[in-house]
Assembly symmetry: C2
Homo-oligomer: 189 residues x 2
Amino acid sequence: MVRAGLSPERLTRAGVELADEVGFDQVTVSALARRFDVKAASLYSHLKNSQELKTRIALFALEELADRVAAALAGRAGKDALEAFANAYRDYAREHPGRYAAARLRLDPETAAASAGMRHSQMTRAILRGYDLTEPDQTHAVRMLGSVFHGYVSLEQAGGFEHSAPDAQESWVWMVDSLDALLRTRSTP
Amino acid sequence: MVRAGLSPERLTRAGVELADEVGFDQVTVSALARRFDVKAASLYSHLKNSQELKTRIALFALEELADRVAAALAGRAGKDALEAFANAYRDYAREHPGRYAAARLRLDPETAAASAGMRHSQMTRAILRGYDLTEPDQTHAVRMLGSVFHGYVSLEQAGGFEHSAPDAQESWVWMVDSLDALLRTRSTP
DNA sequence: CTAATTTGCCTATAGGCTGTAGGCAAATGC
DNA sequence: GCATTTGCCTACAGCCTATAGGCAAATTAG
């Protein structure tokens, strides 16, 4: 009986791919075991439980998304940075719907603190440096950007803009434009 | 053996309450049966399957939320209407997290068409009458408002603003203010 | 008012997922 | 080569969805 060569890392990787294929909430220990042609019970030597699997996938997605956003932001400022940030976010969600859903998993405080979550908020704040906002406006703006991008991507993924004109892409551009204008209005140079 | 007096309507009502108590995705046929002190199999005379239960709860929530928003909007216009709309939305999510989650369930096209979903987009458009937007800006604005309100409420519910100052309420007011300013900027009287 | 029918909830059952316990064989170390 | 460790296995228990068929309560008909 040849061994499958399981490990937490390989299981996480496969879980990440499974999430994109069948949806994050369809990721189960059973389905993952089938993918390795192994019995479900065997996975419990490598994973404490299914929650740990989901958390690992979420952490992977948060990290990957942060990397992408960081790459997109490199060398950009102002509206350019805002657009790059917005598009990195939306593109990731479109390319990897399961990973994006995973990234929204609610983590327990200590896991969240050790996650790439901090990088995300730091990068959002970095964008706002181009707009000269002072506290508490900066925090308000961070929350607003997070809300609008997440909200849009989430509604788009749910098919909310599918059967109506104009194209979702147009609204996205309009929205990012509008946010840029708004932030410039709020800036105190 | 005294009968429990089940019906699709009573089951839906109880499901709605269960959703707020334990979370929408913890609503199961089994849990609902326990609540009526009845075996799970008995519910299948009244419900086709668990999907139907969830859909019914979603439709109830959409309707109830639309009613609330309609009441909040009555007699208001402009920024006043925008604030009322925003608050009706957020308050509902805070008071009834399970119902709010249910309202976000993806419905199949024909069910969606027969739902209160249309009322929601019509009411959003009604608010924008106060800002003299022309197409396609109006559609873009409808999508943006939907995104930002849903996004904020969703992040707030996920605890995203819990451990940081200032209070989530302050950011909300700031955001609604900003959206009003933005829409006025975009208006073409 | 009783008898027939319908309706409502039951038990039994099957299949899927999570998770634990204990077993055997492959890999590793001495 | 032999002992130990490791990895995946079977078996099982508990909970969930869903179907089939049964019996008794409620309703309708004569």
